[in-house]
Symmetry: C2
Subunit: 372 residues, 2 copies
Amino acid sequence: MNSRRHFLHKLSASLIALPAFSGRELNEIQLLNEKAYEGPVLRVAILGLGSYGTRVADAMKTCTRAKLVGAVSGTPSKIKDWQTKYGIPEKNCYNYENFDQIKNNPDIDAVYIITPNSLHAPFAIRTAKAGKHVICEKPMALNAKEGMTMIAACKAANVKLLVGYRVHFEPKTLEIIRMRNEGELGKVMFFQGLCGFRIGDPSQWRLNKALAGGGSMMDIGIYAINGSRYLVGEEPVWVTAQETKTDPVKFKEGVDETITFQLGFPSGVIASCLSTYSMNNLDRFYLNCEKGWAEMQPSTGYGPIKARTNKGELTHTHVTHQTVQMDEMSDIILGGKQPLVPVDGEEGLKDLKIIDAIFMAVKTGKKESLSL
Amino acid sequence: MNSRRHFLHKLSASLIALPAFSGRELNEIQLLNEKAYEGPVLRVAILGLGSYGTRVADAMKTCTRAKLVGAVSGTPSKIKDWQTKYGIPEKNCYNYENFDQIKNNPDIDAVYIITPNSLHAPFAIRTAKAGKHVICEKPMALNAKEGMTMIAACKAANVKLLVGYRVHFEPKTLEIIRMRNEGELGKVMFFQGLCGFRIGDPSQWRLNKALAGGGSMMDIGIYAINGSRYLVGEEPVWVTAQETKTDPVKFKEGVDETITFQLGFPSGVIASCLSTYSMNNLDRFYLNCEKGWAEMQPSTGYGPIKARTNKGELTHTHVTHQTVQMDEMSDIILGGKQPLVPVDGEEGLKDLKIIDAIFMAVKTGKKESLSL
């Protein structure tokens, strides 16, 4: 190992131990990486070449430890476009019929599934069976039961299963978690997560129960669920939920427009959350603690994230979330790195169990117990 | 009527029609009033000479249409202190035994009841029977049933019954209501009210179920309830609620520490609220609308209130809430003025009905219907 690689190796090891990166550290890593990264690179095929897939592909241009090398789609013209745009060789392109042949391709390590939710599980299972690592957009699956089949399939195939929780690598988020962990905020008392936007085109898959598995909750409410867990730092033990529908034509049976929900945590913390497809610009987290508070707005958008605590504004440099996510996922898959906030299948499954319970609580009108 | 009085009369009439005061207008009124107010003055006795009573008494020093003239207390030394401090004549002082004799005192128009909650109804009824107008701190009573007896007693005695909703006269609050009423914010979608503080001395009456009728909800949660109603501009039709208690020694049976609750409105608006006695500095309102938003923080504290909308920060001048309240209540009682947001017994009763339903929803774990 030459001295530069040795230094990078040490830096990387120290990062594993660090609970969060400062903006300066991230810049340093990036500079070093741009100059001299010689470590392992995760070679990724993206499956599902829609708008978010394109966002990830664009972000991966500046990755150093991950590289977009393949494309999978049911639409031949999209494949052609991506080949041109991202320099993807013909031999790394698949359609949904011949996808299983990816098992014979030694130049692809992982498949990132960015399809409508209902296709996550079947494609994750096919990917695992092909011996490739699985990265899957959130929500991981349509429900917890389906999520468990994905975990089992990846375990059986001895491949990693990661879920696209990009804000688990977001520096301001990690700094607040660090402050909480080190007692700077005192005991957590209350979390509030308001997540939503006004959804457009009524014909999109996100408003189709069969494809999406629900409505706003699967898409945007999951941020409040997940955020409550990583900011409170406990797992909830009960949930209550209330649904409101003002437009039953746009939001059909099983497609939730607006749900308010509350999560109870063992310490007595309550999270009070909103998930909606019918309001503008809701992207707000608020954490109330005994000695301080933290506020994020925007809290989970593509960034830059804005965060303040009782000590002032956080000033960490914004780096494109999907770039950091894919580099970090490379370290997790190839280097065995343990991120501060998990992004594995078990993490995805917990959110699905909560979503299942929220839908149940809406139906029963009762407090539903959770056991995560 | 001389020309100055005529001008003041016209100004006052125009204020009745105006939905909100600008800071400039309020300053003008005050200047005019200090110089030249010659209209009727409401002569008030305060009953209950504790810390909030003292705050009101101090604020009334700069009132022009209301004047503190009497004091009622069970503690003789407090009466003496107030006589000295506020120049109250002996003949306008009463204890709880001889209070009913106030009916023979032609120099007192109204009694402002600022006692522990359980004494509101009995003293309001005695005040009404003495033929004096009743001003009562909020919550108006321990529950809706008791509130109704107060309304009935005041109606039978032909006296007015007002409740101390001081923020109903707060200029920034009124400006947001004006913006909403005139369609500048568009359709209201969501309200969030987080109200709480960390309560101190465990021996105080506010933590005694018999005196307070509950815990945080009666004291501070009522601001979120009331705020949801005046900011949404509708009356809720259902409520759900969840209670959490982390300190059952401090917060005994029937004394709520923390309750999250949700109110559903006919248009589909949801209010998501928190009432707590165990968190720091929670005084936040947020109104999400189709075309804009409004945010208040602090939203109901003694002020200055801070408010922003999508159009920017509101800059109305802060005037001590209790001063404005008492001057406005003078206009309501003596001049028949109709405030933009009601402060009468019916208004107080609506909040009590909601509180009753919240406590019921905590107990049943179910959605409780409201009919206000």
